[in-house]
């Protein structure tokens, strides 16, 4: 492998950026008509436009003055003479403000019907039902809908759109707004200062730890639109937060955190499952008015939600060969819904990835009250035993008073009681364990008195039976371990059902839960074990009880399931092999269509996603293809400003995954100020856009402050990713790490541009910069531009830079093992970024690998 030290090239030459966009398949795209927008600013920038924006937002005078001052700065400042080629930007051509609704919607009811339907399809209303921890969805420039989990509000956490924040917390916003990145900072920060709209405001009070990441989704819906959001985050003393922004051009990023779900439920999701069983990002959502036939497809074995589609909408199906016999051959094809017949099979992809860990770290808050929380990291051995115990918890577990973890059984279930006790002792060693007996209902509970354990189980597996869930890291675990999870759950909440009917026996295993999320997750885990289930939903509202979700395992799946749970049943019933209507292979779960209904509709808005790579998604549990996606030939500009204040002892992680369209200029200013013992982590992944110039930075202002930038960039044909970091050390004993990885392919260009500034007072500070670049072919280019300014001697500064090329010897080695060249290249590239990707939350890690795979397809150098 040819590795050599990169030498800074001080003569950057502009590449022919953006001359050749990739051939696009999106010419038939639809976009939401902006004619209905409440306000569309004239293209171009003027004092009038800026004043209009301020007026429409009914902003306070100071903000209006700030905008106008920014405009002056913007006009005065020259375009940067360094970095990427920005000559393609025509400031006069952009619409600087689009406002889709008259009023910023406070609740779901206030959202206009058109927009609502879009979000409905994205599952946003689920958020209101409290399933989702917190979402701000940005529709063009305005936040139209957002929701914040009540518990955070109780803790005093503020998560609002900037506009709301200015109205509700004017003093707080004014105190910090523009203090870290002034309008004088650079031309694009000034532009943002003048025309910004949307973005988020986050305030985390002292000592509060926000456990789930706060997430935002953005979209640019119109051609020639600018996206100028402004984000301000304040993490007060000893608090912590993880903020995630998924900025996907002209489309909303949806990730399903938890396997397969009907699209109506995709809420906390970040990626959709595509027909190849991969997690894929959504590029765009489309809306159009539709006259014609609307098909509603219902599938055997799934709750009768039905999937609605227009005539031409393709489904991934296997045609039924004989009406009364299950198919023998399973070859899939995309077919328009209009050609489908009942009993044809629809396909559900199965995620078969195995990503197993011997242990898991969990951060749990310990202590309460006046002294605040302290985060404690606990390492849990994630053995098969732990999985079984988790299974028991999902069925029979509960948390009381935050301190007690209990498992409730019938007193006759002695084996299970003993098993649970043994498991707890085996996994956690000496803990305070007791049995409590409830004479009234013949119940016996195993009670563990441990705040730590109670919180571990609460965070991972949820508390309250309809909020039970499986944490993400378990979903791709070792199959044998997952089998133990299923076993524990079955022992708790499952049963074998055998009933004599007129024509013979009916036998099946049944698993029940009131958690819809858990039911879907378990269904997916069982598919990984090659066990097909039907899901039944029974509303018990009239009984005053919660809706029950039951997974039914019958036919040959029951034989497999019986073996799995150690309750073997005969492979035959009535001298015939047990069988189901379903079929499973490596890739898919096949289920027959139950019914197809056709309605004729007029002027109905229909919606669609454009999904990365596979152009398919799982709707209502089955794989469908998307139709077409909007195509904006004109360039778009994304110019955001993010300011973060990390107070003493606080911690903030800000994760960005951007995969913009090829015509987007992505020019973003991000900075954090970190006080004593505070910690700031920027995780920044850039792909897509025509040009990116982004250098997340931190000012380490207090003693012992820490900063970290993990950045990854991938540049393909016509793209220039100019990324890096700024580390400014002003106080003693501060430390920073910058890790940058870049991949250039097909003539793309990446640059690392970094500044390390260690001031005279920052003695005993440390800085490490590692930048690794990978060139996929000879056409591509990479440079590093590191700058170090060091004003004290007592420091440790390290800079390592490597450039490697995919070598012929590597390719030959991998190919000699039977892998084709494209796969070999993918493996090398994924290996190159593996250590960085591992630092992302699991679902983002999976997404990153998929995005890279997609980028590498067909890029034979």
């Amino acid at each position: 492998m040819s590795r050599f030290i990169a030498k800074p090239d001080l003569q950057p030459t502009a590449v022919a950026a953006g001359k050749k966009l990739l051939a696009n398949d999106y010419q038939f795209g639809f976009s939401y008509p902006t004619a209905n927008y409440a306000f569309v600013a004239q293209p171009g920038l003027s004092q009038q436009v800026v004043e209009q924006i301020s007026e429409f937002k009914t902003e306070p005078a100071w903000l209006r003055a700030s905008r106008l001052q920014a405009l002056t700065e913007f006009e005065r400042k020259l375009m940067p003479a360094w970095g990427a080629d920005l000559s393609g930007i025509d400031f006069k051509s952009f619409h600087y403000y689009l406002r889709p609704t008259d009023v910023v919607a406070k609740t779901w009811q206030d959202v206009p019907a058109d927009v609502k339907k879009t979000f409905d399809r994205l599952g946003i209303p689920e958020a209101e039902r409290g399933v989702l921890a917190g979402v701000k969805a940005q529709y063009d420039s305005e936040v139209v809908y957002g929701s914040l989990k009540k518990t955070w509000a109780d803790d005093g956490v503020i998560f609002l759109s900037m506009d709301e924040a200015i109205k509700q917390h004017p003093d707080l916003v004014r105190e910090y707004f523009g203090k870290l990145i002034s309008h004088q900072d650079n031309k694009f920060a000034a532009l943002n200062g003048a025309v910004w709209s949307g973005g988020s405001f986050v305030y985390v009070p002292k000592g509060v730890h926000v456990k789930m990441p706060l997430q935002t989704y953005f979209r640019i819906n119109s051609a020639n639109a600018g996206q100028f959001e402004r984000t301000l985050i304040i993490v007060d003393e000893g608090a912590s937060v993880h903020y995630v922004e998924g900025c996907f051009t002209a489309g909303t990023l949806i990730t399903t955190r938890v396997g397969i779900k009907p699209i109506e439920q995709v809420t906390e999701a970040d990626l959709v499952l595509s027909h190849t069983g991969s997690w894929r990002a959504i590029n765009q959502t489309q809306v159009r008015s539709y006259d014609g036939k609307l098909y509603t497809v219902t599938v055997t074995g799934q709750p009768s939600v039905g999937i609605q589609a227009t005539v031409e909408h393709p489904f991934l199906v296997v045609r039924r060969k004989y009406l009364n016999e299950r198919n023998q051959i399973w070859s899939t094809a995309w077919q328009p819904v209009s050609s489908l017949k009942p009993k044809d099979y629809v396909c559900s992809p199965i995620d078969r990835t195995v990503n197993d860990f011997e242990t898991q770290n969990i951060e749990i808050p310990m202590g309460r009250g006046r002294h605040g929380f302290k985060l404690e990291t606990v390492t849990v051995p994630t053995t098969a035993d732990f999985f079984r115990l988790a299974g028991f918890y999902l069925a029979e577990g509960s948390i009381s008073d935050e301190h007690y973890l209990s498992f409730s059984f019938n007193e006759a279930e002695r084996d299970y009681i003993e098993d649970v006790k043994n498991l707890i002792q085996k996994i956690f060693g000496k803990v305070s364990l007791a049995e409590s007996h409830h004479l009234k209902n013949h119940g016996t509970s195993v009670v563990v008195s441990s705040t730590k354990l109670a919180r571990i189980f609460k965070i991972w597996f949820g508390a309250g039976c309809d909020h039970k869930q499986i944490p993400e890291w378990m979903l791709q675990a070792d199959l044998a371990k997952q089998a133990q999870l299923i076993l524990g759950w079955y022992w708790g909440d499952g049963s074998f059902y055998s009933k004599q009917l007129k024509h013979g026996f009916k036998e099946m295993f049944r698993l029940c839960t009131t958690s819809e999320k858990l039911a879907w997750q378990m269904r997916q885990l069982l598919l990984r074990q090659d066990i097909a289930t039907s899901m039944n939903v029974r509303s018990r509202r009239h009984e005053g009880r919660r809706t029950m979700f039951t997974l039914v395992v019958g036919g040959e799946a029951a034989v497999k399931f019986g073996d799995l749970v150690g309750q073997p049943i005969k492979a035959t019933l009535h001298y015939k092999k047990r069988a189901t209507a379903f079929y499973i292979d490596d890739k898919y779960f096949y289920a027959p269509i139950k019914s197809i209904e056709i309605d004729t509709v007029k002027n109905v808005p229909v919606y669609n996603f454009s999904v990365q790579t596979d152009e398919s998604y799982v709707a209502g549990g089955v794989a469908v293809h998307n139709c077409t996606a909007p195509n904006f030939s004109a360039s778009s500009l994304h110019s955001a400003v993010v300011e973060i204040f990390v107070k003493a002892g606080a911690r903030c992680q800000y994760t960005t995954i951007q995969n913009w369209y090829q015509n987007v200029y992505n020019l973003v200013t991000k900075r954090a100020c970190v006080e004593r013992e505070g910690e700031m982590i920027w995780t920044d992944f850039n792909m897509g856009s025509k040009v990116t110039m982004k250098y997340p930075g931190f000012i380490l202002a207090g003693e012992g402050a820490k900063g970290e930038v993990l950045s990854m960039a991938l540049a393909g044909a016509g793209q220039h990713q100019d990324t890096g970091a700024k580390a400014v050390h002003l106080a003693p004993h501060t430390s920073s790490t910058i890790i940058s990885k870049s991949i250039s392919k097909a003539g793309g260009r990446t640059s690392y541009r970094g500044l390390v500034h260690i001031g005279p007072k920052a003695h005993h500070s440390k800085n490490t910069v590692v930048c690794d670049a990978l060139l996929v072919d000879d056409l591509s280019r990479t440079d590093t531009y590191p700058v170090e300014k060091i004003f004290t001697n007592l420091v440790e500064v390290q800079h390592e830079a490597t450039v490697s090329k995919i070598g012929d010897d590597q390719l030959f080695y991998l190919m000699s093992r039977g892998l084709d060249e494209t796969t070999a290249r993918k493996l090398i590239v994924n290996g190159f970024v593996a250590d960085l990707v591992r630092k992302l939350p699991l679902e983002y890690a999976v997404e990153m690998n998929r995005l890279i795979d997609m980028e590498m397809e067909g890029s034979v150098g």
Binding site: M1, A480, F812, M815, S816, R817, L827, N830, G831, A834
Partner: protein, 267 residues
């Protein structure tokens, strides 16, 4: 193009007929004709620079090596020269590299699982159905070869010692169960004990699934450990001697020098 005689076609897994191989303008291998019967064990001996490794890489499909037009190589009856490296592998040809290549960040387990699925493309008949079962299987194989099982969770050859790399080559061989295994200087980096384990592993493959083995080395000392059926000597890209274990005694007594004159005579 010359046609191979019918007997060669039937009895050989691999058949080289008048093989001449060039890299650039330089001819490395001259007019080699050899046959390798299914399930047999072959050794090719020769001093450094005799073209042994070229032969190995060429057979595995390295794009740098080009055969002269009248050369003919058949593998299992099909024309090997028309197949790319990955197609050759999937057809059942395996090369254990003299210098295995590092691919940082590519986990050995994931890599091998992928290659295993390609080699045994029918999921139904594949002995290891899941990656979990496969991992256990790898660990057993690793223990058999005295390779630390935890290495399979590392990046490919990342931080591996020379001996560990070679053991991993043998492990891959065991996993992919090829029809033909070519081992290029497998002995470098391996101690006597590891060589014995390797020999045992190879014979097991030979006996159980009838793998044909071609061992390439310049150390005649190690050959006895492997008890080959046939020994050939390659010098300056020419086949100068062919025989059984008796040939080994001659080499042991006289070294390669006695064959060098032969090489000149042949040319």
């Amino acid at each position: 193009m010359k046609l191979s005689s019918p007997t060669q076609g039937i009895s050989s897994l691999l058949s080289l007929q008048h093989l001449t191989v060039k890299v650039g303008e330089k001819t490395i291998l001259h007019d080699l004709s050899m046959d390798f019967a299914p399930g047999s064990f072959h050794v090719i001996l020769g001093p450094n620079g005799s073209g042994k490794s070229t032969l190995a890489s060429f057979l595995a499909g390295h794009p740098d090596y080009v055969a002269a037009t009248d050369s003919q190589v058949t593998f299992g009856g099909q024309n090997l020269l028309s197949l790319s490296a990955d197609q050759r592998s999937r057809a059942g040809l395996f090369l254990a590299f003299q210098q295995p290549v590092m691919v940082p960040g590519l986990r050995v387990l994931n890599f091998l699982w992928l290659t295993y699925q390609r080699r045994f493309s029918d999921a139904a008949t594949r002995p290891q159905k899941t990656i979990v079962a496969f991992r256990d299987y790898l660990k057993t194989l690793a223990v058999d070869l005295d390779l630390k099982p935890e290495l399979i969770d590392r990046g490919l050859h990342e931080g591996f010692s020379g001996g560990e790399k070679k053991r991993l080559e043998v492990l891959q061989l065991m996993v992919l169960q090829p029809k033909l295994a070519i081992l290029d200087e497998i002995d470098s980096g391996l101690d006597v004990d590891a060589l014995k384990l390797t020999a045992a592993a190879l014979h097991r493959l030979q006996n159980e699934i009838g793998t044909t083995i071609l061992l390439i080395t310049h150390h005649q000392q190690i050959v006895r450990t492997f008890k080959p059926d046939q020994v050939r000597v390659l010098i300056q890209g020419k086949l100068v001697a062919s025989g059984d274990m008796n040939l080994l005694e001659q080499i042991e007594a006289e070294g390669f020098n006695s064959f060098k004159t032969l090489a000149t005579e042949v040319s």
